[in-house]
Amino acid sequence: MPDVIETISKRWVGAAVGRKEDEALLTGQARFIDDLYPIPGIRFAAILRSPHAHARIRRIDVARARELAGVRDIVTGKDVQELIGSIPSIVKAPLAYYPIAIDKAHYVGEPIAVVVADTRYIAEDACDLIDVEYEVLPAVANLRSVIMRDAPLIHEAVGSNVISRRSFSYGNPDDAFAAADRVFEFSYSLPRYASTPIETFGVIAHFERAPDRYTVWSNFQGPFVVQPLMANALRVPGHRLRLITPPSSGGSFGIKQAVLSYIVLLAAVSRRTGMPVKWIEDRVEHLTAASASSDRLGTVGAAFTKDGELTGLRFKTTANMGAYVRPPEPASLYRMHAASNGCYRVKNISIDNELVVTNSTPVGLNRGYGGPQFYFALERVMEIAARGLGIDPAELRRRNLIRAGAFPYKAPAGAVFDAGDYEAALSELLRIADYEKLKERRAAARRAGRLLGIGLAAGVEPSGSNMAYVSLAQTSEERRRADRKSGANASAVVTVDPSGQVTVRLCSCPNGQGHATVAAQIVADALGLHPDDIQVVTEVDTLTSAWSIASGNYSNRFAAIVVEAVAKCAEQVAQKIRLLAAAALDATADEIELHEGYARVRGQSNKGLPFRKAASRAHWDPAGLPGDTSPGIHESAVISPAVLGSPDAEDRIASAVTFGFVVDLAAVEIDAKTGAIRIDKYASVHDVGTQLNPKIVEGQVHGGFVHGLGAALFEELAYDDQGNFLSGTFADYLCPTAVEVPAIEIGHVETRSPANALGAKGLGDGSSMLTPAAVTNAVADALGRDDISLPLNLQRVWAFANGHNRTTKSRPAISSSRPTGRAAGETLTGSGEITLLAPVQEVWRRLLDPNELAAIIPGCRNLTQDQVDRYSARVTIGIGAIRGTYHAQIELRDKSERSSLRLLGKAVGPLGFGSGSGLVRLQPETEARTRLQYSYEAEVGGKLAAVGQRMLGSVMRYLISQFFRALERRITPASRTGWRSWWLRLRQYVSRDET
C-alpha cells in the first residue's frame, strides 16, 4: 500500500514515546482479571487436582465436602462430560481432550473436581474433604523413557504414545549429505520450561438461560482460532460463547493461550451450578498444570564442504505434547518449519517429526514458540561445525548467510523472508561486542588456566503467523480433505465521536507490549494529532468487537500485521476528515493536510479548522455532508497479508509475514570448582525493520534476553521417573531476578519490511530464541565439550567442568555411622543400620507384632489389622511446622524367618502421598545382640513433591531412622531387664514350637 506510506507523517512513529499504559499500572489503577466483579452473585471456585501422574478414578466421594458450610456445589468430570464435548485437535488420534479428568487422570495437576463456594478459602477447605479413590497406574513423564517399548500407554485407545510422525524433504538432502566433505551431528535433549507471567490464569464464567449464552471474562490472549473450538466443546454456536478480556494484563508470553481449557471448564461449571463462578489460578496450580514449552529430544546433522559451505541439514525431533494435544498444538513443532534453513542459504533439508504423549501437563505457546528449541539444534551444530572445520564461528556463519540482495528470499520449506541485511547485522554485532579483543582476552584467560568461552547464535524471527502452518502436521492428502486454511487476519476500528475525540479499538489482546501506545502513535501521525489525544481500547468482547480467526496476541503479530490494519483505518478516517474539511474550506481533499490538531489547506496556514470541528460535522450535520460522504466516522479494516497462502502439496508454506533477524554473542567464564557461570559479555543485534517505538523495542529485547537466560541457566519444569511433578513453587522453579541479569549491549540494523505500510517487522520473541543457544555455545567453548544439556545450573556445570557424564553418582549403599539418604535419580533411597541389644528372635517378633508396629511407626494412631500382615492406620507426621495426617497402609512381605522381610508402606493425605518399600535384614551379632540393616526406596508425590523437593530426602531419612530408633528404644530396656528378657526368651521358645 504505497499510497499509505506517503500520507503518514513520521512525527510520532519511530519516536520513543512514553507508554500510554504505564500511568494506570504505576498508580495501581490498572484492572486485571482478579479485579473484575462484572456481575453480582459471583461464587468462587477451587480445583481439586490429581496428585498422581496416571491413575484410574474409581470413586469420588464429595459427601463430606458438601456438608461444609459455604460450599455451594461440587462438579466432577462426569458432571462436566454431560454438558460438553472434547476439545478438538488437528491431530487425528483417539485421545479426547477434556478440561477435567473423566475416568482417568493423565498428569499431576489434572483437574478432578471443581468446588464452588462462597469464598476461595472455603472452596479450598472443601477440596481437602473430597475423597477420591484412585487406582494408581504406571506413569511416564520423561521423554527418554516414553519412547522405550515397555513404557506404559497413556491413552489405551491410541495404542502408542507416539501420536504423529511426519517426514519432510526439501531439495535433495540425501545427495547433499552423500557428497559432503564433512558431516557434523549433534544430539540433544531440552527441558520443558515456561515464561511464568506474574499474573496467573483467571476466569469468570456466567451461563445465562436467557439469552441462552455463556459469557466468560478471562485473560485469554488468543489466538482466536480456538474460540470456535471452545464453542464447539460447549456445544453452542460461536456467538453463544461470549469472551471478554480485562483492560490490563499481567503478562502472558504465550502461556495464557492455555486458559482456553479453563474457559470451557468453568463455563460448564457455571451452567451446571447455575451460578457465576470465578476462578483465579494460584502459583502452584500455574507451575504444575498451566502450560509450558515442549521438552524435546533431537538430533541435527549438518553437511558442509571443506571450505564451510552448509549444503544440507537434517533434523530429527521428538516433542513431548504432555498428556493431550491441546490446540493450537502441535504448532510449536511446526512454527519454525518453513524457515528450517534459519538465516542460511542451505537448500537441502530433511525433517522427521515425532509427537509423543506422556503423563505430564499439556504444552503450548511459550515465548519463542518452538524457536528456542529449533535454534538450539541449528546454532549448536553450526558452532560444532565451526570448531570441526577450523573456521571462526562468526566467519562460518557469514559465509552461509542469505545475502543482502537476495530479498524477498524464498526459503526451501516455503517461508518468504521479506527483507534483511544479515551480514551487516553480524558485522554490527562483532563491532559492539569487540569480538577481536574478546578473542584475545579468551586466549589470555586460557593461558592462565581460566575457562572463558564465546558463543554465537543467529536466526530469523518469524512474525505474524499464517494460521495454516499447523496443518503441516497433516499430510497433504489429509489437508485436501479438510477445509482450506490460510492467512492471518488482523482487524482494527478507528472512530471519531461527535466531540471529535478519536478512539482506536484493537483485537490484539496485549499482554504488556504497549499496543495502545504504538497504535496511538500511528493514528496520531495519520490524523495530525498528539498520541495523548487518541484513546485506545484493547479490551475484546467477541460479541461486539471486530475480531477474526487470527485475533489475539502471539507470534509477534502486532508490529507485523496489526499495525497495518490500524494504519489503514486511520488513513480512511484521515481521508474522510479531509473531505469534510475541504467542503468547509472551499478546497479539494487533496489540498487538505492534517497537522497539529488542524485540518488546513496546504500552504495556507491561516486557512483551516480544528480537527474536532471537521469531525463533528459528520455527526451533527449529515444533511450538509459533501457528495457521497456517509454520516458518522467509524472506519474498520480487516486485513490478511497476501503472501500467507495455504500449504502446497510439497508441504511448503509462507508461514509468517515478516522475518526479523537476531544475532547474539555470549561470553562466559566458568568457575570449575563451583560450576558458577559469570556472564562476561552479552551483545545482541536486531533487525526489526522500522522501530515503531525504540523504547518498547528496547524493553522487548531485554525481556526476550532474560527469558532466554532463564531457560539457559535455571529453568526446568521437572518430573521424576514416576511422573511426579517437582517444581511447584518459585523456590524450585528458578527465574532470573535483576541480580542475575547482566547489562547487555544492544545494536540495531533496520531494513524496512515491504509487508506493511510502516516498514515494521514483528519482534518480541527476539533473543528468547537465541540466548539459550548462544549461552550454551559459550559454555561449550569454555569447557571444550559438546554434550551439554540445559539448564546450565551449578551442579550440572560443575559436573561438566569436572568430567562427569552424569550429574549424580551413587554412593555406598550402607553407611555404618549415620543413616544416609538421597533424592537423586529422583526416587528417594537410603539405608542404615543399627545394633539392637536383643537376640534376633526378639527383634523378629517385635517387627511382626501389630502393637509394636503401632508403637514404632512415627505418629501412628488407630492401627488396625486388615489381613495377615496388612494394616491400616492414621499417621500424623510433623516436621517443623509442616504437619499432616495421612491414611497409611502397611504390609509385610517376603518374610524369611528371623532373617529378612520387606516393609511396604503407603500414605495418602491432603498434602499428597508417599509410598515406599524397605528391606530389613537381621543378623545375630551375639546371643543378645542383633544387627539390623535396612535399605529403602520411596516415592513422594502430590503437593509435598511439588513444593518440598529440597527437604524430602532429609525428612524421609529422618522418619525412617525414627522408626528404627523407636524399635531400638523399645527393645533396649527389655534386654536390660533380666526377668523380662527371660520371659521373652521363654516366649520365643513357645512361638518356635508353634511354627
Partner: protein, 291 residues
Amino acid sequence: MKPVGFDYYRPQALSEAVALLADKGDEAAILAGGMTLGPMLNLRVARPRSVIDISRIQALKTISVSNNVVITGAGLTQSEALRSDLIAREVPLLAMALPWVGHFQTRNRGTLGGSVAHADPSAEIPLALVACGGTVVLQSRRGGRRIAAKEFFVGALMTQRRPDEIVTALEWPRTRPDAGHAFTEIAQRHGDFAIAAAACSLRLTKSDRVEHLSVGVGGVEDRPIAIDVSGFRGQAAGDIPANLSAHAASSVTPMEDRSASADYRTALTKVLVERAVNAALDMARLQRNRL
C-alpha cells in the same frame, strides 16, 4: 493458595505468649516475620489451629551486651541486625552472614529467632550461630533454658525446641579485636537456599599459628554443623586452608537433592571452607597488623 482457618493471637508480652503456647501446644505455630510460615500456611503444608504472632513483643527486639556475649532478641529483624554497629563490631561473623539471607525485602521482616527456630538446613543465621559457638535461649511457662547451638539443631526443620517453648534470644560470643572471620556460600541465585555455605572464625599468634579456630558448614548436612578442628589448632597458618578444607570435605555426610548430589556438596564443602579460611586468615592478619 489460601490457608486453612486458624485462631490468631497477638500477645504484647512474652509471658502472655508463653502462656498461650502452653495452652495450645503443638497445635500452635509461632509467627514472627512470616517469611517462611506465611508461604507454608498459604501452601497448606502448615495447618496450625492457632497462630501466635510474637512480632509486637518489644522485649524480643533488643540487643544487649554482657561480658562475653551479645544477646540478640529473637524478634530482631535481619535488617535491624544488619544495620547494627554493635553487631558489626562485636559479632562480625553474623554481620557477614546476613547479606546472604534472602533479599532485602525479606530481611525487613524475617527475624533472627525465626530463622533459628525454623532450622532450614541451608539457613545462614543458624550456621553463623553454630560456627561461633553461640547459644539458643528458650522460654516456656515451665521456665527458661539455654542450649548450645551445636546441640539445638537436630535435622531438617527439626530442633530441640519443645512445643511449649519460644526461642526468645540468641547469644553470640563477642569477637576479639585480632580475630578474622569469613562467611561464604554457593546458591543458584543470590538469596536462594544455599547449596553449601561455610563460616570461619580464627585468630593468629604472633608466629602466624592458628588459635581459636572454628569452622561451620551449612546446607551440606541436614543441619548446620561445626567441623571438628581440634587437630588444626596451633598449626602454621599457611598449611591450614588446604588441609582443613580437605578434612572438612572428608568429614561431612552430605544430603542429596535435585540441586546437588552428595559429590557436588562434598566438592563445595572443600572449596568453600578453603575460601572462608583464606578470607578469615586475611582478615586476622589485617587486624593483627592494625593493632
